[in-house]
């Protein structure tokens, strides 16, 4: 297995307070890595470090290195990095424009489209890959704000797919969704695994076991254990992992 992302001794701080401590972790190409752990264990902080969304926060600082196939992401141009590592937030954030415009927005701004005629094809492909096409193909020009929560979340996935990243970070993408919408999002995630490397933060242990090949357990800013998903859930090495999985705390 080729490593897509290598995290070396990463520590993150808000206002000098350490929330993620000497994390080292490798993420293989085309795998779905789940990250589970109780609230405040640093999962979101980790994702927002990977595509440097946290660099916008002045109270945030970090040490350590993260390599994306050989390049240290902290030396990279932020826009290029975010184009290669897309991120899906817990709450879907459609832009206040039409469904069509939502998808085509980033490709247009990033100069990925040379001809106008390519637009329709990009929109259709992205929506299909996010399993949303059938539901919205007749109303592409209506406002994205009018979609249901689950549809909005898949629209946000489609929006990321349209810029064709290498890695996609999902931060509890189903926390606000009903089981059917959740199933649809999971379905598209498994679909996407063929082409992308996926990091999925989830509060749902079952979800992790449904979609991911490996799972990491974070606790209070530390990586406690990482292993093949079925092994981690069936026979965790650490007592703390077992306690969390069986619901004894967190």
């Amino acid at each position: 297995m080729v490593d897509k992302i290598k995290v070396k001794d990463l520590s993150c701080y808000y206002n000098k307070k350490c929330v993620l401590e000497s994390l080292s972790i490798n993420i293989a190409q085309n795998e779905i890595l789940s990250i589970i752990g109780p609230a405040n264990s640093g999962k979101t902080t980790f994702l927002r470090t990977l595509n440097r969304m946290n660099d916008l926060d002045v109270t945030y600082s970090r040490t350590g290195k993260v390599y994306l196939v050989g390049d240290n992401i902290f030396d990279m141009n932020m826009e290029n990095l975010r184009k290669r590592i897309g991120m899906l937030f817990a709450m879907p954030i459609p832009l206040p424009v039409s469904i069509y415009e939502n998808i085509i927005y980033a490709p247009k701004r990033l100069g990925l489209i040379s001809k106008k005629s390519e637009q329709d094809a990009i929109v259709e492909q992205a929506l299909k890959d996010a399993s949303l096409w059938n539901e919205v193909k007749d109303r592409l020009s209506s406002s994205a704000m009018k979609l249901s929560g689950g549809q909005q979340q898949r629209l946000c996935i489609a929006r990321i797919l349209a810029i064709n990243p290498e890695v996609i970070l999902f931060d509890e993408p189903c926390s606000g969704l009903d089981p059917i919408s959740t199933a649809k999002v999971e379905e598209s995630m498994i679909e996407l695994k063929q082409r992308y490397t996926i990091v999925l933060v989830t509060n749902n242990v079952k979800q992790a076991s449904r979609v991911s090949s490996r799972t990491a357990f974070f606790l209070m800013g530390k990586l406690v254990e990482i292993d093949k998903t079925d092994r981690l859930f069936v026979s965790p090495k650490e007592k703390r992992t077992e306690d969390y999985i069986t619901g004894r705390f967190g």
Partner: protein, 284 residues
């Protein structure tokens, strides 16, 4: 303290609040009523489109209308782009350090400086030091400096009302900061910025003190043809005809006031309609 029963105190507070509202509204209504009653008879096509005659006692007020319009147009054309750019810088780019906080505080407080002070400043800098003379451009520059803090403040609150999550969504897709501002933040802030701008226009249309120092003339026998011309303006003209000229027909004075009032009210009305229009269209 006497303890009122709840029903009575409810009634009493309702009455007090209602009276206060009436008290606030009545003078405005009375003023508008008096101005219309005394001035409406002066408003004719000729009044709006001809030069003054008979030592301003007759004829029209065209030069004053055009004077005010040209100063206001120049002023807003200068202040709006600068103000919006400054607001974008302060809201979207500036690091939140001590210097930025001082600048922000200064801007808020500058909005409270009396206009006569700006007038004096304009006289010293634009009229005398830069040798622009008493002119449209000197008046417009002075007014733009006066309005800048207001435009910056209203533009900043318009920018800040655009949810932060939209910026995050855009940035997370690899779109640059400037493009995010240009294509996401600005389009959604435009209604607020426009409303602020229109209200500024209506505010400076009635501005007298600054203009007195920098642009206005007692009487100019021709229409303005360059920005370096002195001009008559509506507020100053109103002041002159009501205090400096004996035997001034009352309906001309009130007619002039009515024109000024209509100009300002139209602008505020446009601002309100703009706001309603955009609020209806807003999708979040």
């Amino acid at each position: 303290m006497i303890k009122l029963n709840p029903k009575l105190s409810q009634k009493l507070s309702y009455t007090i609040l209602f009276l206060a509202t009436v008290l606030a509204v009545v003078p405005v209504v009375v003023i508008i009523f008096i101005i219309i009653k005394n001035g409406a008879s002066a408003i004719t096509w000729e009044f709006l489109t001809s030069m003054p005659k008979d030592g301003m006692r007759g004829g029209g007020i065209l030069p004053a209308i055009l004077g005010t319009l040209s100063i206001v147009t120049c002023a807003i054309a200068i202040t709006l782009p600068i103000g919006v750019c400054a607001a974008i810088y302060l809201s979207e780019y500036a690091k939140n350090n001590l210097l930025t906080r001082i600048v922000k505080l200064a801007i808020v407080n500058l909005a409270g400086v009396p206009s006569v002070v700006y007038g004096l400043f304009g006289l010293a800098i634009f009229v005398m030091f830069l040798k622009l003379g008493v002119s449209i451009i000197a008046g417009a520059l002075t007014l733009s400096i006066m309005e800048l803090p207001v435009i910056i403040t209203t533009s900043r609150s318009a920018l800040n009302s655009v949810p932060y999550s939209f910026r995050e969504a855009s940035l997370s897709l690899g779109v640059s900061r400037w493009q995010t501002v240009r294509y996401i933040v600005l389009p959604n802030a435009i209604p607020g910025i426009l409303t602020g701008a229109i209200l500024s226009i209506s505010r400076i249309s009635g501005e007298t003190a600054t203009i007195l120092f920098t642009a206005a003339a007692f009487s100019v026998p021709h229409l303005p043809h360059s920005v370096l011309d002195q001009v008559m303006t509506l507020p100053y003209h109103l002041y002159i005809i009501s205090t400096q000229i004996p035997n001034m027909p009352e309906n001309v004075i009130f007619g002039t006031a009515l024109v000024l009032l209509l100009m300002v009210l139209t602008m505020s009305f446009v601002a309100i309609v703009t706001r309603i229009y955009f609020r209806k269209r807003r999708k979040w």
